[in-house]
């Protein structure tokens, strides 16, 4: 057993896990506020990445302009999705709104193939390319910086929820919609805001994921792993998304290296089945008590 090798692979796993956690955070935000299981999260991430690609490569904007631009477009896109697709489903069964996001995912894949073609694209390099060495373990710079971007953003989002008025309004809505209404919180606006925030966060994740692995119209598969992450951590738990993200990232990396690349998804989903059997509501999720 080569311990440095194990350490190196674990680090790479933690790096990817940071991105899972970030995307999982976007997912949990939406679920907490609007109770929609958004299976299109991977595709929203893809849209963010492709918009960034258009700005950075197509229009050749500098990075400091392309990133905020892509985030703005992502957020606007999130708002449009919320108003046109999610708002009409208010009060419908959760399965219906879930299926709406399934349809949305399919539409987004088609849209990307139509606008940017189904071929693989490469994002322009913008992260420093120097290898990072910790002890004797090498870490790919993209994964290293991607991880820190994820950590920064997650911290910022968590602080915002703790202290900012809008964040408090969101937590109030998540805790009890009727009560939130009665203290004067504009709940529909909270919904829009959440979708915008989640789309922007997913956009950041998309830019980083795209710069690591390239762009293609099947990038949404990333969303499948994120789905496992949030189920693992509990659909409505931010802490769960963070812990789950790192754990799933590490397990994927270890399975991918020690057993073989094609076992990655199998390992993730076996973990999913296991967790569903033991704790169906996830590690930190609320166990809802059903009444007649």
């Amino acid at each position: 057993m080569d311990w440095w090798l194990l350490f190196e692979i674990t680090l790479a796993g933690v790096g990817t896990g940071g991105l899972y956690a970030l995307t999982g955070l976007a997912f949990v935000l939406i679920y907490k506020a609007t109770r929609v299981v958004n299976i299109a999260i991977g595709e929203m991430l893809m849209i963010g990445a492709y918009v960034f690609f258009s700005f950075a490569a197509g229009l050749a904007l500098p990075i400091w302009l392309a990133v905020p631009g892509a985030l703005l477009v992502s957020a606007a896109f999130g708002a449009v999705v919320e108003r046109t697709l999610i708002r009409p489903m208010l009060g419908e069964s959760p399965i219906s709104s879930f299926m709406v996001t399934v349809g949305l995912a399919s539409m987004l894949v088609g849209l990307v193939e139509l606008v940017w073609s189904a071929d693989q694209q490469r994002l322009p390099e913008f992260l420093p390319a120097k290898h990072i060495v910790i002890g004797q373990a090498f870490v790919s710079p993209k994964i290293f910086y991607g991880f820190w971007i994820a950590v920064l953003l997650i911290t910022a989002v968590l602080l915002l929820f703790r202290y900012w008025r809008g964040g408090v309004a969101l937590r109030a809505t998540a805790a009890d919609q009727a009560a939130a209404y009665s203290v004067g919180i504009n709940v529909p606006r909270v919904f829009s805001m959440t979708w915008m925030a989640a789309a922007a966060i997913a956009g950041v994740a998309g830019i980083v994921v795209g710069s690591i692995g390239g762009l293609s119209s099947v990038m949404g598969v990333f969303g499948l792993s994120v789905l496992v992450v949030v189920i693992f951590g509990g659909l409505d738990s931010v802490a769960g998304a963070l812990v789950g993200g790192v754990i799933v990232g590490v397990i994927e990396a270890l399975a991918g290296f020690y057993i073989g690349g094609e076992y990655k998804l199998l390992a993730t989903f076996s973990l999913l089945v296991l967790i569903l059997m033991i704790r169906p509501y996830g590690l930190f999720g609320t166990h809802e008590i059903e009444r007649l």
Binding site: P88, L104, G110, L227, P280, L292
Partner: protein
Amino acid sequence: MRIGSAKQSYAADAALFDSVTQQRWALAGGGLLLLFPFVASEYWLYLACLVAINIASTMGLNILTGYTGLVSLGQAAFMGLGAYTTAILQLRYGTPMLLNLLGGGIVAMAAGVLVGLPSLRVKGLYLAIATIAAGVIAHFVFSHFSQLTGGTAGLSVPPAMIFGQQLDTSFRLYWVIVPITGLLLLGAANLFRTRIGRAFIAIRDRDISAEVLGIPLLRYKLLSFAISSFYAGVAGGLFAYFFRAVTPESFPLLMSIFFLAAVIVGGMGTVLGSVLGAVFMTLVPELLKLVVSALPLSGNATLILSPVRTIVFGALIVLFLIFEPLGLAEMWRRTRRTFHLWPFRT
């Protein structure tokens, strides 16, 4: 309820076709299905077989999702299991076609029970995601147990033999596929006139209440999974004989989504809905092909066809959910009611 069809016995009230008009329509439909292969071209026969296979699988999913309220995204995986079982039985043992189909159904049924096991603790969307796991694991098994499944290259299936006839054209397959689908549909329609079917519906409406009423939840949920995957397995077996090739890539997650979409578009919890949904969802891409090729596009018509198809597929799911959540079956009912009550309006 049809006007002027008073029932005088319980048997008449519970009948599958409960009025003379309905019986006539059913007869006319059956007659059309008999005539169809003699007038249709090879292409339309091909489509008819494909539609029939999809109807069988959609009906299975509708039993699970529409009638029992358990959302599943694993229908393609069960179809795959059925297809592989049928193909392996055919290739290794050369057993008769109908037996192979039955075998495919039974293997898929066993897998369905296995996947259904968590369904007592895991509900709603958690269950849907758990069934995605079934799909991933099935794909893995198909591509890695290569001694049995032929690995990523898959298996190629010889044409089926039945009564000494080689079923190598759509015309010949039609006479096997369509009656089997008809039988499956009839079975489903009858299922919901029995105690079991009504238990499914009670579970869908509120599972805890159903349990209070004395319906053993685990047994009936598993039964629903078993019946649904049996349908998928048989459909998969037909799929194997129809395409004559089975690969791990033949049954992607997208296919499961396709069946769920067909159930939604057709109408959850109706037999008619499964038929309409499967027909509609199978024929729309073909219609799109016609439309796109008719558009004055310079040469790249085939290039935009696939993305447009994906977009339309998603848009159909979304539009139906927002504007017609009860699906095509409800539209059909409304149209019928308009004619019944004419010149009055509902």
